[in-house]
């Protein structure tokens, strides 16, 4: 293992220190428990958007803290869910009276820890909502698994809902928008190499020179299938079709109800993509793949979208939700209506994503 790190147990802390030193205009970093807040938090009267998860996916989530996006991010150890005290302290720090919305990627650990945090925050009189991101089309069913994982749509949801909160949406409206974004977004990922978790010191899996993993998550876990290495066009096409040809997806999610002070279950069904849709297309590097290669994938993706009658209205291309230094990429398509596009275009000023200001 070769990385620019000091002791493996200090990796997360020192990266946070680096961020704090680099971006005092945008964010503040808090330690024990670890969380990152907007420099100007709490913003009175604004819904506060909080996300978090294991580290190793940088710039997500800490790099998305700032005006127009997240109010707080809670980083766990590398690939390990954060603990509820982090989200709880973050919620107290950023709540501006309008409540906090948790954006939670669907991994059992993240879900359970965020749920505990929601209960703690509610107990303190903070209005809470919690929306699950579960967009990974590589996971087929929800009945026999923990459901689709939360991947690329998370980045888009953080941007879009962050802008809505900035624009004055209330907690209910932010939650509805987040749910809508999640239900309209789907992703698929591939890996050309494994990544190495610093504490583990060796690659998570072995992958031959002539094969790649299709349908990976974002924790260096193996994917849906291992395939012979192929060209950018073949890989791009297989990825695009895994999203565009994916059928409806139904599952039950648990959301917090501020009235009853308890969790309620909702059955949600995501519609498949169809001709005539307009989308935000997000081609993401897993960390070790340079942006030049992403353009080769984007080229094919755009061609296939056009053939399917799907219009790419906006795009995002680069490393935004990564798996350490893994080589590979993911594609996310988000069906976008005017509301979504308006908030996508709105200004954002974070270390990881910035435009309009």
């Amino acid at each position: 293992m070769k990385k620019l790190i000091n002791a493996v147990e200090d990796v997360v802390k020192e990266q946070l220190e680096g961020m704090a030193t680099a971006h005092p205009d945008m964010l503040k970093v808090h330690f024990e428990p670890n969380y990152v807040t907007r420099a100007d938090a709490p913003v009175q009267g604004k819904v506060a958007l909080i996300s978090g998860g294991g580290s190793g996916h940088e710039p997500m989530h800490g790099g998305f803290v700032g005006k127009g996006m997240l109010d707080a991010a809670c980083p766990g150890e590398v690939f390990t869910s954060p603990t509820p005290d982090q989200m709880y302290e973050a919620a107290k720090a950023v709540d501006g009276g309008a409540g906090v919305l948790f954006l939670v990627k669907n991994y059992t650990g993240d879900v359970l820890n965020f749920e505990t945090a929601a209960e703690l925050a509610y107990g303190d009189g903070i209005k809470v909502q919690s929306i699950l991101i579960d967009d990974d089309a590589a996971v087929k069913d929800s009945l026999y698994t923990a459901g689709r994982r939360g991947v690329g749509t998370t980045v888009l949801a953080e941007k879009i809902v962050g802008a809505a909160a900035e624009a004055g949406y209330d907690l209910e409206q932010c939650a509805d928008l987040a749910r809508k974004v999640n239900q309209n977004g789907r992703s698929i990922g591939i890996a050309l190499t494994s990544c190495t978790v610093p504490a583990a010191g060796k690659p998570t899996f072995d992958l031959g020179e002539d094969e790649y993993e299709f349908g990976i998550g974002i924790h260096g876990e193996p994917g849906r299938e291992r395939l012979p290495m192929a060209s950018a066009d073949e890989i791009g096409e297989k990825m695009a079709l895994a999203i565009l040809d994916d059928g409806p997806y139904t599952r039950t999610v648990r959301e917090w109800d501020n009235e009853s002070g308890d969790w309620v279950e909702k059955e949600l069904t995501d519609p498949p993509f169809k001709s005539g849709d307009q989308v935000i297309a997000f081609v993401n590097s897993m960390g070790g793949t340079p942006v030049s290669e992403l353009y080769a994938i984007y080229r094919k993706l755009a061609e296939i979208c056009e053939n399917k009658g799907v219009t790419i209205a906006r795009n995002l291309i680069g490393p935004y939700i990564t798996s350490l230094e893994m080589q590979g990429c993911s594609i996310t398509l988000l069906k976008a209506d005017d509301e979504i596009l308006k908030f996508w275009d709105a200004p954002v000023v974070t270390p990881g994503l910035r435009w309009g200001a």
Partner: protein
């Protein structure tokens, strides 16, 4: 009667057991998860050991709740909130108790496991820690109904938990990280069921030795 000291000793014994089985649990997790369960449990119970002295003279409910809070804020992952909830709930059920009778002991375990289920929504044969706890509670209930004493009822529970743990081997996981492996999760023993068995066994050991 189970004393406050015995509860403290159980937690200490659990910490020792998690340390001893750190590698083993992590290996089990490597096969169908992300190779951290032993590390998580060891980290959590180390923290519990740091916290324990400050509450060791409080009532049992308090001790258990502190254990729960500590696990919640130090373990992370799926098992952190689950074991954390276990101790939080059992602590709440035994608020201000200075010692536990047979019924209390059963209540402690039962309310704890109810917490796990409420949080994790696991069902039998989902290949989770619940597959150890569920038969354990059934066996303990039956033994108590049969008029057996604490020790024997607990012994029955530990045996059932061990069997439940082993029964996870052929199962396909339907909850947690292992569920993404589908068929490939078959043939491996669930790490959480294993740590649950170890925890319950540590309780039996503690009570036997005192």
């Amino acid at each position: 009667m189970v004393t406050r000291d015995q509860i403290v000793h159980w937690l200490e014994a659990t910490a020792v057991v998690m340390k001893e089985n750190k590698e083993y649990l992590t290996q089990l997790d490597a096969a169908i998860g992300d190779a951290d369960h032993g590390i998580n449990m060891d980290r959590g119970f180390k923290k519990v050991m740091e916290k324990l002295p400050s509450v060791a003279d409080k009532d049992i409910g308090n001790i258990l709740k502190t254990t729960g809070m500590t696990l919640i804020s130090s373990v992370g992952g799926a098992s952190g909130p689950l074991y954390g909830t276990f101790f939080m709930r059992s602590g709440m059920a035994l608020a201000s108790k200075e010692e536990l009778n047979d019924e209390d002991l059963f209540k402690m375990l039962k309310t704890g496991v109810e917490g796990i289920v409420q949080r994790g929504r696991a069902q039998l044969e989902d290949k989770t820690m619940f597959d150890a706890w569920s038969p354990a509670l059934d066996a303990m209930q039956a033994a108590l109904d049969n008029g057996q004493n604490t020790h024997d009822a607990l012994k029955a529970a530990v045996d059932a938990a061990e069997q439940g743990m082993k029964n996870t081997i052929p199962l396909i996981a339907r909850k947690g990280r292992a569920s993404y492996l589908g068929e490939r999760s078959r043939g491996h023993q669930d790490p959480g069921a294993t740590s649950s068995y170890l925890m319950l066994n540590a309780l039996l050991d503690t009570l036997e030795n005192e």
